[in-house]
């Protein structure tokens, strides 16, 4: 048992320490950490044995869930009585490994069929991408599903974070699918902004559209889509979430994450606009030489600017203990 004293604004409350039982929570946490570690290893083995299954998002999602549960220091209330002692039975482990083995066999068997369409921005490619996520399914065998409601309630934030990671940490597939539409939108946005500063500007519509200027033409490739900034933001925000997991308000952090992704996309459009404007005002060589490295620095600075605006808002308020001095 651990006794913790919480900070409160009331002087009277500070005199009464709040006991926090930890035995049950810690036991469950260890169990979940073990399950997630096994999941990580099994997925890595799957991808090694059957390369057609390779995708980083299930690994990231399992790792995110593991790290956040590890960081968490609160006791899940539903399991706080210590009555629930989960254990990994041999039969469950056997089913878990057998399911992964079958998945590997199936993937290797279907490789020649799936290989031509895997990674393609088509509906068949999307189905295969979704199928790769089935490497997470055998983990359900290890979880105590009879207590799934309590489990979900206790670790809903960590599970939600893992789902967000699973769905947003690899945006390239989505980009490939929407590029014909998004590329045009990005080009038109850049043109609409830049033509106020550069007379004689035009644009050509193609799969890789080009903003044409008097001195410099900018072709907008998929690599210019802002997905690099999108990914960078995801990783950096992940570090923030990990280190401050016990201090941030989860709902606000989720909102800040998605708003930040949007900010990166808009920021990228402004970045390309600046290339067009500078490149057509005598800085063409400078733009050609530094547009790659400057892009990364730009995204990094944009992240820091965004974080400095939202960081305090995301954190839980900690009330300082003020002892009122009474006049004798």
């Amino acid at each position: 048992m651990t006794i913790e004293v919480s900070l409160t604004s009331s002087a009277q409350e500070t005199l009464r320490p709040r006991p926090v039982l930890r035995a049950g929570g810690l036991s469950l946490r260890r169990f979940l950490l073990l399950v997630l570690a096994l999941t990580l290893l099994a997925i890595a083995a799957d991808q090694l044995a059957a390369p057609i299954l390779q995708t980083s998002t299930p690994l990231w999602a399992a790792a995110a869930c593991l790290l956040l549960i590890w960081r968490r220091d609160e006791l899940p209330s539903a399991f706080g009585d210590g009555a629930f002692e989960p254990a990994l039975s041999k039969s469950r482990l056997a089913v878990f490994f057998a399911a992964h083995f079958l998945l590997i066999l199936l993937a290797r068997w279907m490789t020649s069929t799936f290989q031509p369409v895997a990674g393609m921005p088509t509906s068949a490619g999307t189905v295969i991408a979704a199928w790769k996520l089935t490497v997470l399914v055998p983990t359900l065998v290890l979880l105590p599903l009879s207590r799934s409601k309590e489990l979900l309630a206790a670790y809903k934030h960590e599970i939600a974070a893992a789902l967000v990671v699973l769905l947003t940490f690899s945006p390239w597939r989505i980009l490939h699918a929407i590029w014909p539409w998004y590329g045009q939108l990005l080009c038109r946005f850049v043109y609409a902004l830049a033509h106020f500063f550069v007379p004689g500007l035009g644009y050509t519509t193609a799969l890789t559209p080009t903003v044409t200027g008097p001195d410099l033409d900018i072709t907008i490739l998929e690599g210019c889509s802002g997905m690099n900034g999108f990914e960078l933001f995801g990783y950096l925000f992940g570090v923030v979430a990990f280190l401050d997991w016990n201090r941030i308000r989860k709902g606000r952090a989720l909102f800040a994450y998605f708003a930040g992704l949007l900010a990166m996309v808009v920021g990228n459009a402004l970045r390309i606009t600046s290339f067009v404007v500078l490149g057509n005002h005598g800085f063409a060589d400078f733009v050609l030489r530094f547009h790659l490295s400057a892009g990364w620095i730009f995204f990094s600075v944009l992240f820091l600017a965004y974080l400095s605006l939202t960081y305090g808002w995301m954190l839980k308020k900690v009330n300082a203990v003020v002892q009122p001095q009474q006049a004798e």
Binding site: L59, L67, W70, D217, L221, G223, F275, D285
Partner: protein
């Protein structure tokens, strides 16, 4: 510190393959004196530098915020 080290190791292991990708071919041909630019995906070094700047900035922000509260 131990946890940070573990995160660094895990990030290294999980580093997505896209960050190690070879830059796409951007040769579109110049027309006369005209320049032509594109911004393809850049491999690891740029990302690493940007990530280092981002994390360093965040840690400074975090320390300043902690000292204020």
């Amino acid at each position: 510190m131990k946890k940070l080290y573990l995160v660094a190791c895990l990030s290294f292991v999980l580093a997505p393959h896209t960050l190690l990708a070879v830059p796409q071919n951007t040769a579109h041909g110049n027309k006369g004196h005209h320049h032509h630019g594109g911004a393809p995906e850049m491999p690891g070094i740029g990302f690493g530098l940007a990530a280092a700047i981002g994390i360093a900035g965040y840690l400074v922000l975090r320390r300043r915020h902690t000292s204020q509260t």
